[in-house]
Symmetry: C2
Subunit: 405 residues, 2 copies
């Protein structure tokens, strides 16, 4: 039921970054569910992680190892290794240890990632048994297979790729992501891997990723549930024949940042388009806020309202539910008579009440579309924020009532 | 699909408080949808109202008129008269004006209440045409009919009643409520009317209602949507032959407060039991918080998580979703290894991880019940809060996708 999400686009290989996929049979026999990634020597690696206090064991290990010049990433789907306590840390590390032995590197240079059911013990033996096969298949052109390998309730793999020229050299940025439920900002149930062959110092790479995530992965929500496992990493292999980026400025820096932002945005929006049970892709734009936070508060109140979401599912321009959500977003001294609301270009609420020009037919026509823009004007200041979300359908309930069974 | 909610209990008449019901045909011809209530001269009236910034026109009028010694309450269902701007105020007042003329009192002594669809103009003519009939039928024993008259998506009317003796005199507290969706604290899409024949000064009555609402109506959530119209009023007619309560102390004060709290709690829980699509009644108890607010933050994070709600619907003890919700509730420095979670008496999470003694069968047995207690121990302090909520079912989506059509 993904909205406007088709086959994977061409995913250009990134020189110095290889991916290998294997089947450990964690939830289903034969399903490719383990992905190993290798970064060329000298790569820099940045990461952003969930802010959930119950962050999973692999997230804890990743955070510890970001300064150890990571060389390998190992991901399993089917089990999140979250809320698993001390045993979780041991099992996550056992997988890293096995991979480290296979490839001959210190365990500190292996980053683990897990996604799937929370609270069940990680099946270490199954995963470890699959690692040699994954390592044997490491190759730069395996992005599409890896995109499938990290899926959980996703219905389609998600990837994005772009290239640009700098001083006659082609620079590539390619990424994959997964996530369809337990999605809300501060990283979703979401794994994202983006690699470039540019060379970037670690601190600048971290800043670029932080900014890119704030404009993309941290602006999407499906059900408002912040996952325990969200992780997004950005790798710069330095294999392209251009000078390394050591300062946050210059033509190459600007072009790379733009390319990474673009890939991150496409990956994040793909997650929403494939949201659990999604039948609509909804953009919520809040303008005229006094500051960023109040724009986000309004946008998320609307995005998380089950009543708005079910109305969108029903293609019902029940705009009263939108204004009700704006009203409880917690803005101090909101002057409701200054609020305007648009569905695409149709003004449905003007000065806090139903717009005189509005007809139900106009609203119904917009709501019937697969992609809908809800634009809210607060007229309190000059700030603006945009987030992306989905509707709430029968299928969402079915998926999440039946998951695990 | 109401959970554990049967026929109305006996609703004892309250001397000095009459109710009259009529049919205005607002949404359905023949449906009784207009209720007039009359408070005996000398009654005191207290009210608590929605905190939604887009609060409806009738709420604005009610708030203005609380100090005008209200004598009449007029309620319509089928139309919320919310987000209707200046016209909304005019139409709400036009209904009050008509009633004032009929009964011969100043318009300031009439409080209007509306519930139903947001954003559509109030059908004043229909309502006004029904008022004479409602007034003609005013009687003290009409509580049950009035309970039906205020319903929207409710499947059952909701009422509660209790009596106690003081110095040989029987004191009565009786109430009705409505609400099934757009329900979350700070008053839900909820109307509540409670009356007693005790005599209580207005300021003390207001405090009693405020406290009672905070323990009942402000501790329930169905979908997290705070409505534009929530209103709860408490009327003291003073017709019982006991001395008036002028101080917040004494045996009568204590007994009355207890009775009002009990009625408010039953009315609030009835709303949850009849929550849209509800198949389960869930109590969430958070203990060991450093302060009340963090207990509430955790309780509401769990109560609002669509993933927890769908798991409850599926009778699936997918406790990982509960800990994930605790983890994103925003508590600073949450030590996850101190967190314990129980389903009824079954310990599912001990010290932040799956309890050693826990078996899936134990969890499944509790989840299969209609009524479930989720108890969370934070071990950060001595505070405790309890809220009540429902699951998220196919039926919830169906009701809210089809409402209006």
């Amino acid at each position: 039921m993904a909205v406007g999400l088709g086959d994977l686009p061409v995913l250009h290989p990134v020189s110095g970054f290889e991916l290998g996929i294997a089947s450990a049979g964690i939830k289903k026999t034969g399903r490719r569910d383990v992905v190993v990634m290798r970064c060329a020597e000298g790569s820099t690696v940045a990461g952003v992680y969930t802010q959930n206090a119950f962050c999973a064991a692999p997230v804890l290990l990743c955070k510890q190892r970001m300064q150890s010049q990571p060389r390998y990433l190992v991901t399993n789907t089917g089990n999140a290794n979250a809320a698993t306590g001390e045993l979780g840390l041991q099992t996550a590390n056992a997988v890293c240890q096995k991979l480290a032995e296979l490839v001959g590197c210190p365990v500190e240079q292996v980053l683990p990632f897990s996604t799937g059911v929370i609270g069940e013990p990680l099946p270490v033996d199954k995963i470890n048994a699959a690692l040699p096969d994954a390592v044997a298949h490491l190759a730069e052109d395996n992005w599409a297979l890896a995109g499938e390998g990290i899926m959980t309730t996703d219905t389609l793999p998600k990837g994005a790729s772009t290239q640009f020229e700098y001083e006659g050299v082609t620079i590539t940025v390619t990424g994959i992501s997964k996530g369809a439920g337990m999605i809300r900002p501060n990283m979703a149930t979401m794994l994202g891997y983006i690699a470039t062959d540019a060379a970037v110092s670690q601190d600048i790479l971290q800043n670029i990723l932080h900014d890119a995530a704030n404009k993309s992965f941290n602006r999407i929500t499906i059900d408002g549930d912040t996952s325990t496992n969200d992780s997004c990493v950005l790798i710069a292999t330095g294999k392209a024949a251009v000078a390394p980026i050591m300062e946050p400025q210059g033509e190459l820096y600007d072009a790379l940042r733009k390319a990474i932002n673009q890939v991150a945005m496409q990956l994040a929006q793909a997650i929403v388009r494939d949201g659990e049970g999604a039948t609509k892709f909804v953009t919520i734009e809040v303008q005229g806020g006094a500051h960023q936070q109040e724009c986000l508060d309004v946008a998320y109140a609307v995005a998380h309202s089950p009543l708005v979401k079910t109305a969108v599912f029903a293609s019902d321009p029940n705009w009263g539910r939108i204004v009700a959500a704006i009203g409880y977003a917690g803005l101090s001294d909101l002057q409701t008579e200054q609020v305007n609301v648009y569905l695409d270009d149709v003004c449905i609420v003007a000065n806090g009440g139903r717009a005189a020009s509005y007809t139900e037919e106009q609203g119904a026509a917009v709501m019937a579309q697969d992609e809908i823009l809800i634009r809210i004007e607060l007229e309190r200041g000059g700030c603006k924020e945009t987030i992306w979300t989905t509707d709430l359908s029968h299928e969402y309930v079915r998926i999440n009532a039946e998951y695990r069974s």
